[in-house]
Amino acid sequence: MMAPHDDDDCERMTPSRRAVLGAAGALFAWSFVPKFAYAAAGARDPRFVLVILRGALDGLSAVPPIGDPDYAGLREGIALAKDGPDAALSLDGFFYLHPAMPNLARLYKQGQATIVHAAATGYRERSHFDGQDVLESGQPGTGHTQSGWLNRLLASLPAGEGVSRKGVLGVGVVPPLVVRGDAPVLGWAPPRMARAGSDLTMRLADLYGQRDPALARALAEAIETEGVAQRRGMAGEQKGGGGPDTADGMRRIAEGAAGLVGADDGPRIAALAFEGWDTHANEGGAKGRLANLLGGLDGAFAAFEQGLAPVWKDTVVMVATEFGRTAAVNGTVGTDHGTGTVAFLVGGGVKGGRVVADWPGLKPEQLYQNRDLKPTTDIRAVAKGVVSELFGLSGPVLAEKVFPETGGLRPVQGLVV
């Protein structure tokens, strides 16, 4: 304890702390706007989770086009087969699914998963970091990292409605760019150490309120999310475990995100990232490095399905990566940076059981720059289709604010139930 004369100060501390609680509340004051505005829209209460795979997923291994006569020859040492031990799982007789993903195969059969193949953003270079920035910023090119498209999506919704009043959840100690921006961002990461007492947090909120608006806002948002997590009983869960490049870490992240997004008072939109997809060497086929990662992603799908069960019918989980990998295996039984790849849509809100693809073929002259799977579907058109149907955003708003300069890029229709 401090010297006795401070006791008096402690007493006088109280009103000021109340004031801060008030201020933190004011930041979220619009979260208490009655639901009728939203209810009047008459729609569902949708949930949208974006999963970013950092490092560039090899779409030709995740969803191998075994029916394409050129597939096996390009992929010596890592090609998957449609029969034998560890056979790939059949989707439509042309496309197959990696055998490490039985949950996704089941969801596909149940009509709750759609696979988009030969897809890419508008980015045509091969830098991971620029590619991820383009994917997450939703901008037509590089160099725009002030805000992400999910944040602008939220900011475009009418204030006070069910979705916008909850903020957008960015999972991780460092939130992904796609959620950053002016609209409120909630943060959460799998707990790994003892939480500080709320008294210290409130005193800091007080100090920041007087001295540092940016830190004050960040702390208020953290306090808000922690409140949701506590009400969902997530405070005392297991600590430690693997990172976002392990199956265990992916499952825990998915469970946590599902817990928050599934809460009545939680966010409706979330983004999170899994890592480790940059398989330059020893990528593996039915077993190995990529198979382990795909198994982790598949486990995350199961965790989403379970954690979001009550709202699963209104949920769409979208999985996207910055670009694909070379069509041919490289010199070290892996694949280098490429272009076209796959995206997944999973959830009860998905009109699934389909592979959406305008297949370009795998002959040398059919490849992009004689090297990569040619992209024939723009991931932004897929995202636009999903969010326009889920959240009722108009075409011009989508084409100007959320995905700027995409007026000529029609949203893919009919992806949502």
């Binding site: 402690c10 091969r126 991780g172 100690v173 939130p175 150490m193 500080a196 001295r211 960040a218 010199g331």
Partner: protein
């Protein structure tokens, strides 16, 4: 006598360019910081950590291969033992080799093996043990450093030329040696020397897969039918030299990969060199003249790659890219063009003399007068906190906090290294995690800090705001007062 404005600038500079003051340092250092920084540049060298387990990669290679052989023998012994004695199999563990990225675990008590080294129970395996000792030694050095400026530069360059300790056993065991061998000797030297040292280090060649990259027309390529891996070549141009918009093409990436074929690590057989050391293997090198960025490289063997890297280091785009990153790191997330141009011009004119570039930074008032907006990275926050508190943390007290805050040593999620912006480190969840960490440090230090109010004055000096001073004074306990000091805006931002 320095005026109050200069003292405030000096107080910011202690945090901006260094690792923050230690108890008793503040008053003197705030008045002399510019002279001290310039003296460090003039001295022109960086200390090496003491007490590291291996002096260099050659020793590490030898130890690592011996360790792997031992593991193999133990696995084999367990397999035989379990086949012959069913009950003995319960003790075996198949996890011995899966510890690359994992926290240390107790070693399984294997069957008796006279080759087994004496190892205390609960001691992690050699790669993690080495990583642990390397982290501890480099943190000790940063805590002992006078201003911490040189150590900040080591951290900057180590992140610029980052490798990853979780990709492989080699990365885990060599991460510390990489920083000692490729980064530290060149921090005040020439950029091209650091570039070549980094790209030829076994840890880098393993991290970005060049070890296995083989020229398709080399003897090995013709024999084995294996070929190029362009990972290292791309990241050299995108992340280490020119920058992503530095004017290279996919063709340049492939050609630089060709030029760098044969840059590899000697294997355990020692046929081409000491096991674990860098070697150039002519049998894997793509023969012939190779163009890069409009120039033809006709040099034989290793000289071809050295010439290509030297030219990349001297490109104007490289000077601009490095200058931008330095200003972003030390001064502001959005670097002001005049300051960047001043550093880039010095870089170009001096042929990449890094000491001259730092002098241009320290000598420029714009670098001093910019408001303290940048939030300290988790590693900086950890080092500044332990310095301020006068504590000597053990390994767990180092790696735990930086791990939860998102910046464990030598483990960025990609070859672009850790982020260097408030958008990354000032997030809601990141800030809340810092509060948790600071609360723990407050509890740890409560016994050794006599009076947090005095410490706040000592460490922050003219930066201490009335509000923070009051918050520290009114804290309900000493641990809370310390946590409030460490989490105050003036301690968090530099």
């Amino acid at each position: 006598m320095a005026g109050s404005g200069e003292l405030t600038a000096g107080a910011v500079a202690l945090q901006r360019f260094g690792l923050g003051p230690k108890p008793g340092q503040g008053e003197v250092f705030r008045a002399q910081i510019r002279e001290k920084l310039l003296a460090e540049i003039a001295a022109g060298g960086v200390a090496q950590p003491a007490g590291v387990p291996f002096s260099g990669t050659v020793e590490i290679g030898k130890a690592l291969f011996a360790f792997e052989d031992q593991e193999k023998r133990e696995r084999e012994a367990r397999r035989i033992a379990s086949a012959t004695h069913a009950q003995a199999s319960q003790q075996g563990s198949p996890q011995a080799m899966e510890m690359v990225g994992a926290a240390p675990q107790a070693q399984p008590a294997g069957p008796q093996n006279q080759m087994a080294p004496a190892k205390p129970p609960n001691e992690p395996a050699l790669p993690y043990r080495t990583y642990r000792d390397e982290v501890k030694s480099r943190v000790d050095l940063a805590l002992a450093a006078e201003t911490g400026f040189s150590e900040r530069l080591v951290m900057f360059w180590s992140n610029h030329f980052c490798i990853g300790a979780t990709k492989s056993t080699i990365g885990r065991i060599m991460a510390g040696a990489y920083e000692r061998e490729a980064i530290r000797p060149h921090v005040f030297g020439r950029f091209e020397d650091m570039l070549i040292a980094a790209e030829s280090h076994p840890a880098m060649l393993d991290f970005l897969d060049n070890r296995q990259s083989i020229g398709p027309n080399s003897p090995a390529g013709r024999r084995q039918g294996r070929g190029l891996n362009e990972n290292l070549a791309r990241e050299i141009m995108e992340l280490h030299t020119l920058g992503v918009s530095g004017g290279y093409s996919q063709g340049d990436v492939t050609n630089l990969a060709r030029i760098l074929t044969g840059w590899t690590m000697a294997g355990r057989d020692g046929r081409l060199g000491f096991p674990g050391s860098f070697i150039f293997n002519p049998g894997q090198h793509e023969p012939g003249v190779t163009p890069l960025l409009g120039r033809d490289y006709a040099q034989p063997d290793l000289a071809q790659g050295v010439a290509a890297l030297t030219d990349l280091a001297r490109q104007p785009a490289t000077a601009h890219f490095i200058a931008t990153k330095l200003v972003r790191h030390f001064v502001a997330d959005d670097p002001t063009p005049p300051l960047v141009e001043a550093l880039a011009a010095t870089f170009r004119d001096s042929g990449g003399d890094l000491g001259a570039v730092y002098r241009a930074l320290i000598g420029n008032d714009a670098a001093w007068m910019a408001p303290a907006t940048k939030i300290r990275s988790p590693q900086e926050f950890m080092l500044a906190s332990y310095r301020a508190l006068g504590r000597k943390p053990d390994f767990g007290q180092i790696i735990g906090p930086v791990g939860v805050m998102g910046q464990p040593f030598w483990q960025p999620s990609g070859p672009n290294g850790y982020a260097d912006s408030n958008a990354a480190w000032g997030s809601a969840e990141g800030l809340k995690t810092r509060v948790d960490v600071a609360a723990g440090w407050g509890r740890q230090a409560a016994g050794s800090v006599a009076d947090p109010r005095v410490l706040a004055d000592d460490i922050l000096g003219p930066l201490l705001s009335p509000e923070t001073k009051q918050a520290v004074a009114r804290a309900e306990s000493k641990p809370q007062a310390i946590a409030l000091l460490l989490m105050s805006p003036e301690f968090q931002r530099r």
